[in-house]
Symmetry: none
Subunit: 249 residues, 2 copies
DNA sequence: GCAAATTTTGTAAAATCGTGCAACTTCCCT
DNA sequence: AGGGAAGTTGCACGATTTTACAAAATTTGC
């Protein structure tokens, strides 16, 4: 791996995630932490990123793009994404919502699989165009500053012309009775439209979000086909969902 | 194996993979590493590739270049963007194409100005959502992996419903007779559509791109309203454009 | 204020680079 | 055809760069 490739990788990661850990990059790229440290220092001098204790952040880092859950439960999200990758097969048409779990999924798509992916999420799209074989179609619209996804009529209209094989739906709260819920009304509208545009809905969520609910409802629990969490499928927390007919992973 | 054949092989390999290792090529072509090193140096001088420690990367990916001319070019782009900012006024509707000059412009928009910006460029959009008052609308479509912008029918269709006050058109080659030209046919289609969706077209370009042309034509010189370069408006290079009726900055 | 994590500094090994040079090929001129 | 000039290639060797490891200094979180 050339040094320039590492630079490339790091700048891209920072751009997408706003934040990277030094140890994570070192492990991912199979080089020593010292090397990454030198890289970060160099990229900082170039002004491409801002180096901080323990890693780096975007040099144009703003509070608006900072979200608490972006740094939370990364291990779990990675586990979930690994499971979700198994549902992909050659040449299928995929729809992906936003959120860090989907971002992780986008990152873990194997290099040799060919897909068409639709997404309204800016970070997910950035990640996808780095993949050699994935054709990425961005669902345009008014961009939400904090969620970094396209919302509103344009996005929903685009979705209405589309039928994907599978939808990966990122974070949201899932409760047996309340169903799938969200805090933001516009996001609810978008996610509803996404569900209608896909043959099959896969919900990716960390177990914390299970048995909790938010203000607005996206759909009933039974409308979800598959549920992926970081837990074993045999975990008692998940039993009620299996009874409802959901496939678990 | 002739030298020109090696050149071809190397340039092609770089184009396809975005990177090559010196040792790999030497082994593959059955010549000494020194020879390949000489080849890489030569191709770098020609600007065909960018040589780095241990191999080479694509020169169009000059994100992390130390070469002075490109640092200069960045200075120029910054100068251009600074001038372009002056054309913005409160609550106007802006259309921005891709390219690093536009990205710089997005970065330099003052924090206290309120705008609506439409763009098909992923990096520009990422930059814009960091701005507190700019409402950003992403023009969706199939994403080009190298230009990182949305292309194709979807994007053009979206544009047809839009009328912006001003269009900032990034890099392209400008020649008095050939007009505004581009290398990529699909980009030409998009830029044409963008021009039709704006009352006024402002071309942002470094002086190097003036009096040169590419394969495909976007429009005639006279269809451009304003031309912004890093040069003084009195520069002789620009005189013919003023005579054509273009406003200079 | 302490323990853990991170950074800095120094060092040594490995990889890569630049240069000079000799052997070889190609081209050009007679 | 032959001879010489010019260019190309592979090798040797010292210089430079890059990398990993280790120990000391610093920062962070509790």
């Amino acid at each position: 791996m050339l040094r320039e490739e590492r630079y490339n990788y790091i700048v891209n990661e920072v751009k997408i995630r706003n934040r990277v850990l030094l140890t994570d990059i070192a492990r991912k790229l199979n080089v020593s932490e010292d090397t990454i440290r030198r890289d970060l220092n160099h990229l900082d001098e170039q002004g491409k990123i801002k180096k901080v204790h323990g890693g780096a952040i975007s040099s144009s880092f703003h509070l608006y793009s900072y979200r608490e859950d972006q740094i939370y439960a990364h291990e779990h999200k990675s586990t979930i994404a690994t499971k979700a990758v198994k549902l992909l097969h050659e040449n299928c048409v995929v729809l992906m919502s936003g959120g860090t779990t989907n971002l992780e999924l986008a990152r873990l798509i194997p290099d040799n699989i060919s897909l068409t992916v639709f997404t309204p999420s800016l970070p997910v799209a950035m990640q996808l165009i780095a993949h050699p074989l994935v054709e990425t179609i961005f669902i345009g619209g008014r961009l939400s500053k904090d969620a970094q996804i396209a919302l509103g009529g344009d996005a929903i209209r685009t979705l209405s012309h589309l039928k994907a094989d599978i939808l990966f739906m990122g974070t949201g709260n899932l409760d047996l009775e309340s169903g799938l819920t969200e805090f933001d009304w516009e996001v609810v509208q978008l996610k509803k439209a996404m569900m209608e545009s896909a043959k099959k809905t896969v919900v990716l969520t960390i177990s914390e979000k299970i048995n909790s609910s938010q203000r607005f409802k996206i759909c009933a629990t039974s409308e979800v086909h598959t549920l992926i969490t970081e837990l074993e499928t045999s975990h008692t927390l998940l039993a009620p969902f299996r009874e409802k007919g959901l496939e678990l992973m």
